[in-house]
Symmetry: none
Subunit: 134 residues, 4 copies
């Protein structure tokens, strides 16, 4: 992950948010889950820094989209009980994969918060698309 | 938010608590979620400072009443997993809105804890009414 | 504080870092101390997110530059003991003041980490200059 | 960082501890500061997991030996106030550098706790030597 790419991903997420009519926060983290960039749009809620960074971190830490984790952590799911302050398990966080010659591995993540879960997921997907076509 | 208004809101919540026969704690926070005032009635539980301030913070951070968040964070809800130490997602926290010329935004919140959830919600509503008719 | 201005401030800090030969992280927070933007340069240390955001928060929370707090919190200083995980009290955080008709107040802050303290302070100053001449 | 190397480093640290007559804990972390291995010797204190991992994390996060940080964070040092729960700033943590074609960078760290600081430093150095001659 590098800053230039993180900013392009952020821009794509925010353009999608504008289309959705949502005000969002966008975080991009590196393979260690540490923030590379964060932006909170005008009018986006103050929980955004915590939630967007938390979703991005969670997607890297567990190598799954937080949307998939929502199912796994629901009552009856095999990871029920995981969701909490550390791991945010509802849609909006997506891990970013790459193969630098040693096989596919997670090298970063993006997290979006501020809209509905459906909107957050679409905005995160817009960011992840930039990554996949980099 | 200012202290004089916060104290009037607190007084209204406590009057409602007296009618309910409940002993409560009342927190009022500003738009950043930071406490402006806190009062714990004689006989109210020591969890009150944590819970009342937590509900008030949560209502500001997520711009929803914590009663609405209870539904959203219940099993099957789209924010299931959000409830935890940081975000308190059961009734008693209400965000306070105002329009200072740039559109409606959350400029503070009130949180009540100590009675039943129904009582806490009614006390918080009494405080919010003061805000709305300020 | 708004995102557009935060990004301009960040750019100014990073340009200064380039002149200094330093790799830095830059955080801008609002009047509640909540992040509006964060950027970590290529090669900047992973402590950057914690330290830059912490310095920015501290400068807002205590309404002083963290450089001034370094003196106050040193042994013999009147705030000795304040420095810790919550309040970061060494140079690199600067509060941002404005008067929107109710007198001067702190409406945000900038925090820089990654270089020497002297470099961090100069980069934060570059950002604050953008604010003052906005 | 990989597990095989982490274990060889740990073994070297423990051999040194035996020579010193000390019982230690040894942590090895990756470039994100996340543990790769941890071992606590028979008789070593239960603070070891916290302290050894904390020193290793700190050495990576700040790219300095925690022994150097001890000077910087002492009264009068430019990072006075940094030491706390998050960053452990006394000897025993050493960052591990490598150049994988993009210049030297920190790719992991080792942390030792349980003996005197002098002993911890010598044990960590023994581990770091394994890294340097890998």
């Amino acid at each position: 992950m590098n800053l230039e790419l993180a900013l392009r991903m952020t821009e794509a997420a925010m353009k999608q948010a504008a289309r959705e009519g949502a005000s969002i926060s966008v975080a991009v983290v590196d393979e260690g889950g540490h923030p590379v960039s964060f932006q909170r749009m005008e009018g986006a809620e103050i929980a955004g820094p915590v939630l967007a960074q938390g979703k991005a971190y969670t997607s890297v830490a567990l190598r799954r989209s937080t949307e998939d984790l929502a199912e796994l952590t629901a009552p009856g799911g095999e990871l029920f009980g995981l969701a909490g302050d550390r791991f945010l398990c509802f849609g909006g966080g997506i891990p970013l994969w790459a193969d630098y010659g040693e096989g596919e591995r997670v090298v970063g993540g993006v997290g979006v918060s501020g809209g509905t879960i459906t909107q957050d997921v679409r905005c995160a997907e817009a960011a992840a698309s930039v990554w996949r076509t980099r």
